[in-house]
Symmetry: C2
Subunit: 236 residues, 2 copies
């Protein structure tokens, strides 16, 4: 049971990869099904590990503004080479790259978002591009009121332009926005901009064999087991 | 009965003011209810008449990039002065300005969009800002897959950056996008960019006393009475 909030956030902005959808399980299953002779688990981890360094190349100015679909493709080429997979056709690689549009929700996701939507404006705030986020939402029924993305702000999280961009977009002060995420660094970035924050435990984000520290950081406004728990804590 | 389309559009992008929602009736009713001693009908028409000239001031460079909420407020001040309404408080003016977030759908809108969504990706493409479009959609249940706005492209329709921006956002060629609108000039702009176009008759867009020419232009891909008719024509 949490203490009452000082300010009820009007806007809930959600991190997506890991928080709303299970990227590891989805990518691993699809890679296993392709029978490439590689571990789906290891392949998923390697692909995801390339994500932050790739965004860093953009934010440092080494690369111009690049959609996550295109960064995922750059990393995919590296990972395929690293795993010695050399026989995929262009069509097969293009299809595999879009696995990020086909990620599965966590079991509580759709129920949690639907309940939260009843009393809050809910939007994504993801580094994923609009096309990826829109097709993902349509595919699995994520009931966003609005899809916001790094693409809209031309900056990736944790750039302050993204967190403050949500508040500015909806015409509210930062404390009226709560970032919901399974990653403490993302939440710290939001907090530094004056947003409220809710941590979501996703102990299986990196798969069964890779335990994740999901302990509470009291700097966050709320700490919830999952999105249904968050809805309950917010009285939805 | 229309001829089969050469290409079934994957994406349907909708103009909003007039096409999806009844701005005239909504604004007129709210102004009448305020008992300002002015005609709601005339007030609505005057407010809307300021819209294109205001956007032109931005596109010409006279004003920097400005959200439609802020342009609506600039025009509102002029219209209030024009109608001799001088007693409204700042709060009353701010509330009235947000009537554009509270516009009512046409009777066929929600059913039509819901049917069209079953086989197409549906998004807004409006000069309205994201906040306006998001709150409007939440208020009246518009089931957008994604809310796109001039705000995302930093250009108002009919700038080609908006029409081509939809195609680029979703990673498809322009002919895979169909603009749906009740305004021939908007459709002409889209067509010039290679989009398909569907005209929607909205004979009451300017109210009962202001007949609107809703005759067909054969340059459009489709011509429909309303959004339910469009859904039927597209086999949804």
């Amino acid at each position: 049971m949490s203490a009452p909030l000082a300010t009820t956030p009007q806007i809930l902005a959600f991190d997506v990869f890991g928080t709303v959808v299970d990227w590891h399980g989805s990518v691993a299953r699809e890679v296993e099904a392709m029978q490439l002779g590689v571990s789906g688990n290891q392949f998923a981890l390697a692909w995801r590990a390339g994500y932050k360094p790739a965004m860093q190349r953009v934010m440092s100015g080494e690369l111009g503004w690049t959609l996550i679909d295109d960064l995922h493709r750059l990393i995919l080429e590296q990972v395929l080479a690293q795993f010695g997979v050399t026989h995929l056709s262009e069509d097969e690689k293009a299809h595999l790259n879009l696995v990020w549009h086909r990620l599965a929700p966590w079991p509580d996701t759709v129920e949690g978002l639907t309940r939260l939507k009843s009393r809050h404006l809910i939007c994504s705030l993801s580094n994923g591009n609009l096309n990826l986020l829109t097709r993902m939402a349509k595919n699995i029924g994520l009931p966003w009121d609005c899809i916001l993305s790094a693409e809209v702000f031309q900056a990736y999280k944790p750039d302050p332009a993204t967190y403050l961009g949500v508040a500015r977009t909806f015409g509210v002060p930062p404390e009226q926005v709560m970032l919901v995420a399974a990653h403490q660094d993302d939440l710290a970035g939001a907090r530094a901009c004056g947003l409220q924050t809710a941590y979501i435990e996703r102990p299986l984000e990196y798969g069964e064999g890779h335990a994740k520290d999901v302990s509470a950081d009291t700097a966050n406004t709320l700490h919830a087991k999952n999105l249904v728990d968050l809805a309950t804590q917010l009285g939805c």
